[in-house]
Structures are given as C-alpha cells and as structure tokens.
C-alpha cells in the first residue's frame, strides 16, 4: 500500500490544482538534491523527492479537486505527465557518471577517491588522498568534499576555496564553493526567522522614514506632514 498522496504533499483531500502545485513547489525547494549534495542523508532526500514526485503526478493526473483518493492507486502513473520535475534523477546520475567514468585527465587515484566518496567510504577516500603526491586543485577539491561529508566544515571550506584559487576557471569547484555559501546564507534567511518580529520596523525606523518622506516632499514644494 502506498502513502496517501495528499498527506505526502501536506494538503487537504480535495485541494485545488493551485494548492497542490504550491505545496509541491515548496516541497521541491525543501528536498532539492542540490541542498543535499555531499550530505550523508542524500539517499533519504532522494527517496523523499521520488515520493513527492509520484504523489504530485498522481494527483495531477487524477484531477485535483473533488477526486476521492483510493488507497490502492495505480502505480503506472509515474511514467506520464512530463510536468513534474525530473531533474533530480538526471542530476544524480550525472553526478555518478562523473565519479565512475572520471574525467579524461584525471589520474587513476583521483578516480578511486571519487568512487570511495560516492560509496560513502570516507576513510578509504582519505587514505587514497594521503597517498597522492600531486596536490593540485583537484586534490584540494576532493579533500574538501571528504571534510564536508565528515562534518568538518571549516576545513572543507578552506580546501575548496583553495581549489578555486588554484583553478578559477573550473566550474565544478566554483559551484561547490557557491553551494557552501548558499547553504549557510539560505539557512540564515529562512522565512521562519526572517519574517518574524525582528524584521518588522520599530518606532525609530517609522519616525525616521516619515521625517525623510516629509523632507523630500518639502524639497519638491509639497508637504506631507503639515505641522512640521
């Protein structure tokens, strides 16, 4: 038996198309594979994403709105409706391809280290990296990824930064560095924290703004607050 797709998307049964779409978009943002890249929980996030996609496709196909959900819904619906986001599976397979086939100019050890990292074998990856003599940009990048996975974010950042400095044109390194910055920025600016009492203006700000507006108006010959 499958999970109730309404529950998966967190909407009421009989929700409208728009409600379902909105909920779906929020969830995609939350469990996006980019957010979980290099994270030990990436496989769980992938699974969650698949569940969300299936639920969404099912609901889109079976007319949102008043449709009564039956628990044994048809699983074959996954193949239809190109409307949902498919990039997640594409992306992860691309990621694996990079790791498995290796880049043309990558040495054998680097390829092995990437494979270890992909399997989640951090000690194995570290052992290989320790054996390597040639500490090029790619070495620092891989070392950074190992630290990231381990939870050593300070070192992860400095290693990846170093890789970017050594080879500024490499898209992969820059992307990883941006991702690090985005993650912490994104967390700090999450809507729960950002839309709360701290962000609403205090009296000082309100008075200041009014005063400014009044002065501006007066400059232009008008007047906003006539008494001053």
């Amino acid at each position: 038996m499958k999970k109730n797709p309404y529950k998966v998307l967190g909407v009421k049964e009989g929700a409208s198309y728009d409600e379902i779409k909105k909920a779906y978009r929020e969830l995609v943002k939350k469990y996006h594979p980019d957010r979980y890249r290099g994270n030990p929980l990436a496989d769980l996030a992938d699974e969650k994403m698949r569940e969300i996609n299936e639920a969404y496709e099912f609901l889109m196909k079976n007319a949102g709105g008043a449709y009564q959900y039956q628990y044994d819904y048809d699983d074959s619906s996954t193949s239809s409706q190109g409307s949902s986001y498919q990039y997640q599976s594409q992306q992860s397979s691309q990621y694996q391809q990079n790791a498995q086939q290796g880049y043309a100019d990558e040495s054998e050890l680097e390829r092995q280290a990437r494979a270890c990292l992909n399997r989640g074998d951090l000690n194995g990856a570290q052992r290989i990296l320790d054996r390597m003599r040639n500490r090029n940009a790619n070495w620092y990048y891989l070392q950074g990824l190992v630290f990231l996975r381990r939870g050593w974010y300070d070192r992860a950042y400095s290693n990846i930064q170093r890789a970017v400095n050594m080879d500024p044109s490499n898209f992969e390194y820059r992307n990883a560095l941006n991702n690090l910055n985005n993650q912490s920025y994104g967390y700090r600016h999450n809507p729960y924290y950002y839309n709360n009492y701290r962000s609403s203006p205090d009296m000082c700000q309100i008075c200041g703004t009014l005063w400014c507006a009044d002065s501006c108006c007066e400059c232009m010959g008008g007047d906003l607050i006539s008494c001053c």
């Binding site: 469990y31 929980l41 769980l44 939870g151 967390y187 700090r188 999450n190």
Partner: protein
C-alpha cells in the same frame, strides 16, 4: 551540559511554550522518580529539546496533567506524561552530567565538580547499567577529547569531532524503531554537538586567555596575546560560517525526520532559536553566567 539549545521565545505560541516546559518538567520529574532528588539539579534545556524531538517520532498523542511541583510551588504547571523517550532523555542527562562534572574535577580540581560527581555516582551507575554500550562509546570519545585537549589540537574541526560524536551517540535513541530515522537523528545530533562545542569555545575565549587553558579557537588562529576583541573580530566571519553551516545541516536532517507532532516548538528551535543563540554568543551578549534553566 551547556544549555545552548533554546526556543526563540517571543515567536513561540504560549501553548507551545507550555508544552515545551511540560517536557522539561517531565524529564526533571523522571530523574527525580528514578534517580533521587539531587540529580534533578543537573538538567539542562538541551535534554528537554532531545525529549521533544524524540517524542515527535511517534504518533501517540501528547498526554499531560496539570500538577504542582515543589520547585515551582505557586502555580500548577503542565506535565507531560512520562514515556520511553522522556525516560531516555533523563538517563542521558545523568550520564552526560556525570561526565561533565568528573571532567571539571579532574581538570581544574573544581570542588563543585568533585562534590557533584560524588552525588551523581550512584545515579550514574544505574543509568550506565541501562545503556552499557552507549556509555562505553561515550567514555571512549571523552578519552579522545581529553587526548586532543592535552595535545593542544590546533584544528577546531578536529577538536569538535569527539563531542559531536557523543551527541550523535545520544541522539541515536534505540527506542526509535525506524533505522533511517535513527540515522537522521544521529546526523542532527552530530551537527548540534559540533555547534555546541564551537559556540562554547567562543564563549569561553576570555576566560581561557586569562587562565591559559586550552581553547581550539585560540590554537587554530594563533592568538598571540594581543587585543582579544580585535582577534575575535578578525575571525568572527569564519566561525560564523562554521556554526551556521552546522545548523543548516541540522535543519536538513530535521526536514527529513518528518516530525509527527511538536512541530511548532521544533520549527521554532531549529529555524530560529539556534540562530538567535548563535548571534547572541558571537556578539558576546551571552556571558557564561547567563545560561539558565527554566
């Protein structure tokens, strides 16, 4: 324990705050019932958070009673009915508090630590019996932590590893049946432990400079005895990144946990309370003495 994990109170609904306090009281009572009155003093907010988090993994509806407690004799308060998660949190509190006091005694010959350690001895023995494997792992990791401190480890990441791993051990509660959920909890625990350790190191900078004690931040960024405020300002962004990134990993783990209840409180702590605390400590507005209990 450290008591850094707190809700962002002004954003919390009164009902949610009552429930949170209900968990805190329930863990406290559970310690009193099973270990005696003295160990109750060792409870911190962090373990109340653990109880709320673990309980969120079960469907069972929250049940509570309004009771009077001798610690707060004036008004009756909500008390969540004890369950396996609340008892687990109280067991872990005993184990962590005991090691914390023991560490204080052996490091600084702190008399309070020594006395507290003695007072907790029998309670600790009981808790240890319940979770032998966990206690053994925690003791091992504490040994590792001591070794790194003695060697004056010059990497914040490395120094934070043992404590973070202890928290992973604590958060991976054996009463949570789903293995994937335990993994998620473990990663959440690791990152929160890392955050606590680094935040505490930052909070202790002034004291450690004065007493010459080991502090990983002073070692990694090679503090030369100059102006401490200038030193702090020069490395604040780096520490901020490290702390915030740890929290963002907590948040990612939390998103995958799929909490069944208590989401109001947990969202508040994970999305706001922890950031507020980080900023407070980073800006030095939270002295050591400000860590209070409910």
């Amino acid at each position: 324990m450290f008591g850094y994990v707190e809700p962002d109170k002004p954003e919390l609904k009164i009902r949610e705050f009552e429930v949170f306090r209900g968990y805190y009281c329930s863990v406290c009572r559970s310690i009193g019932r099973r270990y005696g009155q003295v160990p109750r003093l060792s409870l911190s907010y962090d373990l109340a958070f653990l109880a709320v988090l673990l309980d969120a993994t079960s469907h069972e509806a929250i049940q509570g009673d309004i009771v009077r407690c001798f610690a707060h004799p004036i008004r009756k308060r909500l008390l969540i009915r004890p369950n396996r998660f609340i008892e687990y949190a109280s067991d872990m509190n005993i184990i962590l508090a005991y090691y914390n006091l023991k560490d204080k005694w052996s490091d600084e010959k702190n008399l309070l630590g020594g006395c507290g350690c003695l007072a907790l001895q029998s309670a600790f023995k009981k808790a240890e019996k319940r979770y032998q494997e966990k206690t053994r792992r925690i003791e091992e990791l504490l040994g590792e932590l001591n070794r790194l401190e003695k060697a004056r480890c010059a990497s914040v990441d490395e120094a934070a590893e043992p404590f973070a791993s202890i928290m992973r051990e604590v958060f991976e509660c054996p009463h949570v049946e789903d293995e994937r959920r335990r993994k998620v909890l473990g990663w959440l625990g690791y990152n929160i432990g890392r955050w606590i350790y680094i935040l505490d190191a930052w909070d202790d900078l002034a004291d450690d400079v004065k007493s010459g004690s080991y502090n990983p931040i002073l070692e990694q960024y090679r503090y030369d005895g100059g102006d401490l405020d200038a030193f702090k300002a020069s490395i604040k962004d780096k520490l901020d990144f490290s702390l915030t990134y740890s929290l963002s990993e907590c948040e990612k783990a939390y998103a995958l946990l799929g909490a069944e209840k208590n989401t109001g409180i947990l969202d508040n702590i994970i999305y706001s309370g922890l950031i507020v605390k980080t900023d407070k400590v980073l800006q030095g507005r939270c002295g050591n003495n400000e860590k209070k209990s409910i």
